[in-house]
Symmetry: C2
Subunit: 782 residues, 2 copies
């Protein structure tokens, strides 16, 4: 054998004698709930700002007599309904996400616009302090409202939401994260947080919103059926919901950046854990719908029908400069940008992780008021910076022969008058006293070579980096894309100014700003094609493609030398039992047998109700092997899911007998139409009389007769490949010795978690973890 067990488990000594436990022994409460409850308790993770229990989803085609969930065996009309249903839902996800995104943008633009206009007009009246009070007050109000929604109504809505979407698409059931109230809070909360001028974006929240919409349309919340159509029940299963949520995530990102192809690639590269080409097509359709909705919305706003919403929010940053040529020196500058992005991005990730942990720790201990105060505080600091910093820099004279207005007093325009006299403008005000979108547009602007001072940009650089770190800790919906773009664009523009001031004018400063944004995004988020396409779609300039690719590749390589991508860090910090594509290092020396936790609880094919109820009460396990205990050699019949047993119990499909086993099987015509709506049945819902408890039930109709199985001697890495790539929830481990019991154990997601394995076998913990292996992490590959 290649993989010999060299290490003995420390915690639970493995015994070779195998005990069947069809019944729960009441005298052994510890043992009976042993591994199962410990499993449950370890499956708790931060969802938004709350610690919630999470369960695995079930993507396996359950082939049992009762619930044949394989749609391919259905009647032609049902198949047609099924396929049409999927496309209708994908269309609706795109439509709703587009409408919501447009509304958020309109609300943000109008709120921020009114706020800025009022402040500016007070300043024009020289009532500066009042202007400051109004500006800060309105910002704090918006943030506090947003934070109150998050704290009191839906804590799951706090933060970016992308880690939760990733977790769901990795096969984790976290209904709270996609509930209706989470959706509402996310929508209104992100309006508040973005309009208040916090250094946070709406891309992450929009991804979460898209996923929420998809989850709810896909009947994910089985208590409330959003859509009244009965035949949608065909789509009411974990696999189809996963596909729909993938579409939702793509739609969200597409709406945030008006980048349909970028949205598809985001779903592929970052969000989804399982991918098929047919999904490529469906997400593409969804994002196309989003693009059309946004376009329609914008064209209906052209005549000023949408208040202050005009040029802002949704428009592309047209970086129309066509790159002609560039030389060796420019390439060096761009390489430096890439390295800078990698270093500062990974540093950002590291600091972010520490801040996140720090904030989470005290927030979990302290009350709501303190959290609110924290939010108010950050809003206050942000507003003060935003209003106060421009006073530190000198006013500059408006350049001559400028095509645009200078200075401006209104909502839009690069050259803000702020505190400056006639014909002068405040360059820092154009960055900090502005919405994030407008700041980015300002930084990306082409043919404005002398717009900024070095000092202004440096002040903005430090401020935005610090504020972005501070902001993510407060409990409001806040995205990470926009701060990263803001920060990267600033040092990119600085680099560009340096190059241009040294006579290398072949690349405009605005292009350097775009490349800087690419480098920081690449260094922090570590996506490649997605970011490339998003930036190209965002700036509407394809000639930059090779440069953007170069910057992204360098930034990713450099960043990977230090730590993981920011969303991966978040997933880990939140304690989400995420199944990565590659097995953990610790699995290499283990076989399936080594990680089985005993005792295994199993049922006989014909089992007493009381035994079943007690077993279910005593454990949180979701699948139980069924053994044919009638035949002389015990044959494994398959496994039953907890939910299916509950269905049997609820429908009372058993015979009342007096000792004599006589089994009936009900015709499950009604239930088999709704195969997955069994979720809502809990043990508490089922009332059983004493006589019923003593009767017997035939589990046969709900046995999944063909679970995926592995031999107990299989290396754990190979078991993991099976488990991960097929998206399983349970895998049965069979004994090598044909004379032994028919099944050795069942492995679940928990058994593949690195922490669990290291707990079982502490010797596997390698101290020299981050030396070379971290370098080969750069090429995270198999």
């Amino acid at each position: 054998m290649a993989v010999e067990k060299e290490i003995q488990p420390q915690q639970m000594p493995q015994t070779d004698d195998f005990i069947f436990e069809p019944l729960l022994r009441k005298e052994l409460p510890q043992q009976k709930v042993g591994f199962n409850l410990s499993k449950r308790s370890s499956h708790r993770a931060m969802i938004g700002a709350n610690i919630s229990p999470i369960e695995s989803l079930d993507y396996e085609i359950v082939a049992n007599e009762l619930l044949n969930q394989d749609w391919r065996t259905r009647a032609p009309t049902e198949k047609l309904q099924y396929t049409i249903g999927k496309w209708v839902l994908a269309f609706m996800v795109g439509l709703f996400t587009g409408v919501v995104a447009f509304s958020i943008n309109m609300a943000v633009e109008n709120l921020a616009g009114v706020k800025f206009l009022a402040t500016v007009s007070l300043m024009d009246l020289k009532r500066t302090l009042l202007a400051y009070a109004l500006y800060t007050g309105s910002n704090m109000l918006l943030v506090l409202l947003s934070a109150m929604l998050c704290i009191f109504i839906a804590p799951a809505a706090a933060g970016s939401g992308i880690p939760e979407v990733k977790a769901y698409l990795n096969g984790l059931d976290i209904p709270e994260a996609f509930a209706g109230r989470t959706l509402l809070v996310k929508i209104f909360g992100s309006i508040g947080s973005v309009a208040s001028g916090l250094v946070c974006g709406k891309a992450g929240p929009l991804v979460h919103i898209g996923a929420c919409i998809a989850f709810l349309l896909g009947q994910g919340n089985s208590k409330v059926h959003i859509l009244p159509w009965n035949w949608l029940v065909l789509l009411d299963n974990d696999r189809d919901r996963r596909d729909l949520v993938t579409c939702g995530a793509a739609a969200g990102l597409a709406a945030a950046f008006r980048s349909p192809v970028g949205g598809v690639l985001f779903a592929l590269e970052e969000a989804a854990s399982w991918w098929r080409n047919s999904l490529l097509w469906r997400t593409f359709f969804t994002t196309a719908v989003v693009a059309v909705v946004l376009r329609t919305g914008m064209s209906s706003c052209k005549n000023g029908a949408c208040g202050l919403f005009g040029e802002g929010g949704l428009i592309l940053f047209n970086v129309s400069e066509q790159l002609s040529s560039y030389g060796f020196l420019e390439l060096i500058a761009i390489t430096v940008l890439g390295v800078l992005g990698g270093v500062s991005g990974s540093l950002y990730n590291q600091l972010h992780a520490h801040f996140f942990l720090f904030n989470t720790r005290w927030q979990n201990r302290k009350g709501s008021l303190l959290k609110l105060a924290h939010a108010g505080m950050v809003a206050f600091v942000t507003s003060t910076c935003s209003f106060g910093l421009p006073w530190l820099v000198q006013c500059r004279a408006c350049p001559d022969n400028l095509e645009v207005e200078c200075p401006t007093h209104g909502r839009i325009g690069n050259f803000k008058a702020f505190n400056c006299p006639h014909k002068q403008y405040n360059d820092l005000a154009g960055l900090v006293f502005n919405t994030s979108e407008d700041s980015i547009r300002n930084l990306f602007s082409i043919d404005t070579p002398l717009e900024f001072h070095y000092t202004s940009l440096l002040i903005f650089l430090v401020t935005s980096y610090t504020l972005a770190l501070l902001t993510y800790g407060i409990l409001v919906p806040s995205g990470l894309f926009v701060p990263a773009i803001l920060f990267g664009a600033t040092y990119g523009r600085l680099t560009g100014m340096f190059m241009v001031s040294h006579g290398l004018q072949r690349i405009d400063e605005g292009i350097y700003a775009v490349l800087g944004a690419a480098s920081f995004l690449g260094g922090s988020m570590r996506m490649t094609v997605t970011l490339c396409v998003i930036l190209l779609e965002l700036t509407n300039n394809l000639t930059m493609l090779p440069l953007v690719m170069l910057v992204l590749l360098i930034a990713k390589v450099v960043g990977d030398l230090f730590n993981d991508a920011i969303f991966k860090l978040h997933v880990r910090m939140k304690g989400i039992p995420f199944l990565d594509i590659l097995p953990e290092q610790s699995m290499q020396q283990l076989t399936a047998r080594d990680v089985i936790t005993k005792p295994l609880m199993s049922f006989s094919r014909i089992e007493q109700v009381q035994n079943i109820v007690e077993t279910l009460q005593g454990t949180g396990h979701n699948a139980f092997p069924v053994i044919d205990s009638c035949s002389p050699d015990k044959v494994l019949l398959g496994i039953v899911l907890r939910s299916h047993i509950l269905l049997l119990l609820k429908t009372k499909s058993f015979q009342l007998t007096n000792g004599h086993v006589s089994v009936i099987r009900l015709p499950f015509s009604e239930e088999s139409r709704k195969p997955f709506s069994t979720k809502e049945v809990t043990l508490e819902d089922i009332d059983l009389s004493t006589q019923e408890m003593l009767s017997y039930v035939d589990l046969h109709p709900v046995i999944n007769t063909s679970p995926y199985t592995v031999m107990e001697t299989m290396p754990l890495t190979k078991v993991y490949a099976l488990f991960r790539q097929l998206g399983l929830r349970h895998v049965c481990v069979l004994p090598r010795d044909p004379k032994g019991p028919p099944i050795t154990g069942i492995l679940t997601r928990h058994d593949f978690m690195n922490d669990h394995l290291l707990q079982l076998y502490p010797d596997l913990r390698q101290t020299k973890k981050r030396t070379l292996s971290s370098f080969s992490n750069v090429f995270d590959d198999q």
Copy 2:
């Protein structure tokens, strides 16, 4: 059980008594080679223009004592070598593909340029017949040279090559398709076929060329080691080679269209069967290298250093018109374009398939001369059309206030003089008497509203459609992308002219031409995101994005109503045993047990050499179960691969004995460094004396002790999911009854092929196949 066996197999009656066959019974030659040779013979497919045997590749991590192929268990320095090696190879694939693509373009542009210039100068001297003779003669010469290369040197180089790449990436070993001579013939052949003015492109051949380069660099051809570095042996395995070939395919398409993101998406959407996100990054890196190489090459050609290569070939079609707005009528026109593309594209696929089959049939029967004559004939017809058709249309006066030259006599320019007097031009000559790239640029041209007659475009439409169909049958390298773009752009332009002539001038005719190209590509190739990105990168115009998406989606839906994508049709027609992502309809009613072919040949752990040799001689099977026949209950120890047994035999790792079994195990230190280079060992290479034949060998060190296994009662669809998604070559079927033999059989790719299943169970053949199921094909989904 959910899936009951309802149908009895017709061909091979299944017996329940299981016979072990560790030895071959000489008296039963039919039986001993029964299913295995039939397997072999069915694994023959058209590779290029040749019928070749093909085998499956082995992606499984083989965990045996001798050859531990899991790189993660290697030493840190080896890991580092491994990861760096992968990136170095990816870089080299990009570099070489870029250089080759650039050279091909330069050669084509120069050859075609010289040809056109000579012809035109003869025409200017009014020596029309001589011009015709020169033109046709040179074209025929080029085509004949190309065809001779294909017919006599490397038949595998004929055609597009994308089906072969798809087959390889689906796990099929077809060394001939990626041999060095195939690469050379593909390069020179496609220069000939494209330069000769045949209606064929170089995108498909470039994909094949990229894949070839990757395959050869990845040591795919184990006889010749291209790269001298010893440590590359770490990468010499099927999984890493698959990844590299994926990069090569991406590089090829990226080089063809200068579309790096499009190349990545092509690899993802069309070429690859298995995908991981780390591959996304690596292909992206490769295509970035290609983009840089092409850019460097083009900038070095700027000063006329590359002959007639200047604006041609590689430049983007700059469709610089910015779309401002469009209304309802334009959307209707675009929808019509989409439907038109779907209908004409699927019709094209259908005709294409019929032509392909027709050509293949006679070509397999007839000699080389006839094939050459066929190629010459098509070249003659194409040249005659190209030279003769422009005479049919009237000359048109050059428009006034034109920025470009009119008429032109040289290589480039929209307005060809051809036979026309001064200040007039021949619009059809600009389409047919031109390279395909220039015709496309002509059709895509913006702000040239009255350039074409309706009649000229209609003539070109019919001609290009017909010639494209005729061309693919001849034995030269020929791609399918460019003809599709050509044809689609023509009817798109026609639609645009119709719209503009009716006063709807909001969208330029050039844009309609791009949308037409999108619709035909979508209707024929059925890719979505890939085509969208390629067209946007090709035309360098992102504002068309929503329209291109719309057209592609409509064309794909309409096309899917009628038949499959063109490359899928090709794969099927070529007889390639392709594993689709979805199981076939016929698997739904079967279980693993139903498709096992008996008898199963197995080995004991300690086996006589003679038995092994005879078994291997008698069968083409590649894996054999090993049973521990010493122990009282027979335990399945694992499976051994044929190649590993051959390695044992070649290294003579057995003991010469006289009856007494005494086994030694050699230290395989040398061989274990080259785990996969066992491929070249064949049975014929091994000389064994009679005494050696009588001795015994211990198979233990080469047993894969953890093959993936399924229960015999598992539905075949679930077995297929395991087999396909993990990329297996063998899956062991275990008996349900623990008292039976330890293994029931081994399933391979062949057992999942629809034709094989229908042969076994003819009752599964459904007559009403193409009614509703074809409609739900539209949503090819799971």
